[in-house]
């Protein structure tokens, strides 16, 4: 069974540009999460989808960040326009839901560098 995949693995952009990160969760997982780790700091929650609906977006830093999960499958996280402080590693995670196990499975992350 394929794990959580993320694309791209690395992205280097200039301040003011737009970047779109993609996450493909494990097939059949209803829950999809986005997290971010800024260098040396903790992994911070950004938002949580249940299928295509946003369950909790309390961690989104500001309106420059837009997450979508059309059709309840893969998700995208767009940053527009990017700022220097957006640099970090963006992790996606998925889980089965109430009837499944209690684990969130993480992808390898996308390392975003804003110059």
């Amino acid at each position: 069974e394929a794990g959580v995949t993320q694309f791209p693995s690395h992205s280097v952009i200039e301040k003011g540009q737009t970047v779109t990160l993609r996450c493909d969760p494990i097939s059949g997982h209803d829950n999809l999460y986005w997290y971010r780790r800024v260098m040396g700091k903790e992994i911070k929650f950004l938002l949580h989808f249940v299928k295509e609906s946003k369950q909790d977006e309390s961690g989104m830093p500001n309106n420059r960040f837009l997450a979508e999960r059309t059709g309840g499958t893969y998700s995208t996280l767009k940053v527009q326009p990017a700022e220097l402080e957006d640099s970090g590693v963006y992790f996606c995670a998925s889980s089965q839901g109430a009837s499944g196990g209690d684990e969130q499975f993480f992808g390898p992350g996308t390392r975003l560098t804003v110059l």
Binding site: N31, K41, E42, I43, F45, F91, S95, D102, F106, P108
Partner: protein
């Protein structure tokens, strides 16, 4: 305001000895606690969890202890092996399972096991 604290950034132990990784939390609403292990360029991998109704959970070489009154948990690895060298994150959730809720992470502890 960090709700999950891992105050020691690193730990070095000899192979075969016990590794003890500590974690403190401040939010009384946390009900479920998890440890994740992370290798470089990979996403965090679930290791072991414990709910607040227990004070100990064991899985092979890994044991997690929870002291709810002190808001403290610890991960014991015995015996430690060189392959255990990684960053260990403590995480917490307000629900009995971490699969359906956002996780709040600590900053992580880098464990080095010397051969």
């Amino acid at each position: 305001d960090q709700q999950v604290k891992q105050n020691s950034p690193s730990l070095s132990v000899q192979e075969g000895r016990i590794s003890i990784l500590n974690c403190d939390y401040t939010n009384s609403m946390f009900d479920y606690f998890l440890w994740y292990k992370k290798y470089p360029a990979e996403g965090p991998t679930f290791l072991i969890s414990i709910s607040s109704i227990k004070d100990k959970n064991e899985d092979g070489r890994f044991t997690v202890f929870l002291n709810k009154s002190a808001k403290h948990l610890s991960l014991h690895i015995v015996p430690s092996q060189p392959g255990d060298s990684a960053v260990y994150f403590c995480a917490a959730s307000p629900f009995f399972t971490g699969a359906n809720s956002k996780l709040t992470f600590g900053k992580g502890i880098t464990l080095s096991v010397r051969p």
